[in-house]
Amino acid sequence: MNFRRSDFVAMAGLLLLLHALLAVDELRGLPFRLDHFTNVALLFTSLYFLYSGYLLSHRLATFRLALYPVGYAALLYVFFLRNPDWRPLFFVLGVVYCSAYRLQAVLGLFTIFVLSHIFAQPHPWAAFLVLGCVFAVAYMVHKRAYGWFHVTALTFGLAIFGVLLFPIICFVLLDSPQTILETFSQSEVALAMKTSLLSATICTLVVLVFGVPLAYGIARTNFRGKTVLETAIDLPILIPQSAVGVAFLWVIGAKGFLGGVVNVGGTLTGVILAQMFVSAPFLIKTAITSFEAVHPHLEGVARSLGASPAGAFWRVSLPLAARGIFVGCILTWARAISEVGSVAILAYYPMTAPVLVFSRSTQAGIEQARPVAIVLILTCLWIFIGLHFIRSVAFRRFVGRTEQI
C-alpha cells in the first residue's frame, strides 16, 4: 500500500482541526479535557505518528502496516486515557514506537517495556531490564545473526549502562507537562534558560568559525609536532572544569593579571569563553575525521579542472564533510550547554540554567532544583533530537566518499 503525500497532508490537516477543537474551552460534551500544553504535545506526537506511517507505507507489507495504528491506539489508551499520571511517559513512548516500528528487535524490546510497565508495578524498570536482556539474547541467538559471545558482551554492557541512565529516565518521566510549563513561567528560570541557549549557540558558532579551518589544516598537512598539536586539542577534555574556571579568572578576571585590559568575569562573554574551552575539542575532532575521509584525489581532480585550493575546499571538501561537521556542532552545543564548573567560577552571573540548578540544590534544596533540572534536561534532549533529525534530513551521507569502484 502506498500513501501519497497529499493523503498525508489531508490527515495531518484533520488532526490539526481535531486538536484545535480540543483547545476550544466553550465546546462541551467532549469525552475529556486537556490543558493547552498537553494538547500541543499530543498534537506533535500524533503528527510524528502520521509522518512515520507515511514513510512506512512505502516499505511495509499491508498487514504489518495495518497493525501500526492499532499499536499506537493501544498505547494512547493505556498510557494517555486510562492513566493520566503516565502522560509524560506517553509522549516519549509514542515517538519511540513510531521510530522503531520498522525494526523487529526494537519493537520487541518496546513491547516488553510497555508490558512490564502495565503488569510489573511497582517495579516496572527492574522488570524491563531483566526481561529486555533475556529478550535481546534470545532474539539474536534465534536469528543466528551473531555468536553468543558477542551477544552476551553487548547485553552485559547494556544492562549496566541501563542502570546508569535509570535515574535520568525516572526523573524526567515522572512529572506532568503542566508542572514543566509552570516552572518555565518563573522569570528566573526562563532567564537562565535564555542565557544558556544563547551562550551555547554563540559558543558553537564561534568554534565553528575557527575550528573548521583548523581541522582542515590538520587534515591536509603533515608536519613535525602534529601529534603534539592533536593532543593539545584533546587537553580541555582532560582538565577539571573548576581548574579551567580558576585559570581563566586568574588571567582575564576582574583581578587577573590581564584584568586591566580584558575582564570577562561575570559577563556573557565569560560564560561563552568557559563553554568554548570545554566544548571546542568535540567539533574540531569530528571535523578532522570528516576532512580526512575526503580523499585528497577528489580535491586533486577539482584542481585539475580549474579550481583554486580555496575553490576545491568550498565546492568539494566542505560539502562532503558538512554532515560530520554538523554532528560536531551538535556535540559542541550539547557540551557547552551542560558546562557548570568553569562557568560558575568565571561568570556566576548572568546565571545559566545548569548553574541555577547547582545554586538551588545547594541553597534551597533538592525540591526547588528538581523542576528546573527537568526543564533543562527535556529542553536539551528535544533540541538534541531535533538537531539529529535535521542532520538526517538535510545532510546526505556519502557512502564510501573515498569511493572505490
Binding site: H295, H297, G300, V301, A302, S304, L305, G306, E403, I405
Partner: protein, 354 residues
Amino acid sequence: MIVLSNLQKSLGSFRLLIERLEIQPGEYLVILGPSGAGKSVLLLTVAGLIRSGAGQLFFDGADVTSLPPEKRDVGLVFQEANLFPHLTVAKNIAFGKRYRRKRAAEIQERVKLLIDMLSIRHLLDRTVEGLSGGEKQRVAVARALSIGPTILLLDEPLGLLDQNTREELRKELRRVHDGLRTTTLHVTHDRNEAFTMADRIAILNEGRLAQVGPREEIFTRPASEFVARFLGVENVLDAFAEQDASGRTFLRIGESRLPVPSQYQGKVRFCVRPEDVSLHPSVPLRAEAAASLSGTIKSIEDRGAVLRLVVNCPVGDVVVLCGKQQFLGSGLSCSSSVWLRLNAASIHVLPRPD
C-alpha cells in the same frame, strides 16, 4: 609537445629521475612498470599535484614547472573514478566549465560530443552512487576531457574493473582518443593494456626510464633483461657471439651456429619468447636459420588452451608454450627427452648492462 627534462622527485628513499621524455601532440603514450616504479608520482608531477624537486616541464614550449594544477589544463582520471559524490553526473561533467567562462560555449559543445562518444546520456541525471564501475570511469573520462586539456592523464584507469568491462573500455578509450587526438599519458602495470592501447610505450623501473619506443620495438627488441622479463619474455639465455671474415655475426647456442645480428662479441645474453620456441619429439630437420637444442621436460603446467613446459637444456631451463592437442597427440610426458627449435628471426641479443 610535452617535454619532461631532468625531472626529479624524492619521496623518502624513493627517487624519480626522468632525464628526458617527449610526448608528441596527439600521441597516446603508455607508461608501463611494476608497482613501486614511480608511475603515479610521475603522473602527479605532470598534473602539478606533486611539486617536482628539480628539472623542468614544458607544455607546447611553455615552462609550466612552477604552475599550480589549475593553471595547467590537464585532465585527470584515477583508478577510483573519484567522481564528486555530492553532485549528479551532469554536474560532475560540467564542473570545469565554471572556471572557463570565456570558453563556456565551446566546452558545452565538447561535452555534448563526449556524452555521445562515451554513450552516457542516460546517466546524466543520476547520482554518482548507483553507477557501475565502468559507468563511473566513462563519466570520469568525460569530465577530464570536457575542458579540452593539453594532456589527458590516466592513472591505472581500468585497474579496478572486471575483465569484460576493462576490454570494452580499452576499445572505447582508444576510440575517443582517435576521435579527439588529445595527447594522452596513460599509466599502467598491465602489459596487455599497454600493447593494445599505446602508440608508444615507456618502461619505468625504480624511478628511471628503462626504455622508450614504439610498441613494436619494445615488444621485439627489449633494451635490457629487466624489460624483457617484465614484458613476459621468460627465456633469457647465455650464448657466444662471433664474427666471420665477411663481418656477419653468428650466435653459438649449444652446438648450433645461427646468423643473428649482434653488436657485441663474446659472451652475450639473448632472449626468445616462449611462444616462438617449437617442441619436437625427435631430432628436427636441419635448417639454416634455426638452432636445435636437446633436453628433458622438467615440468608441465596446464594453462587452459596451452601448456607451459619447462625444458631442461644444456644452456639452461627454457620455457615453451605448446598447444594442448598437439602435445597430447605426441605422447610426451614429464621427463621425456625432446628437441627444441629456436628460429634466428625470433632471437634478440640483449645489450650488455653497463
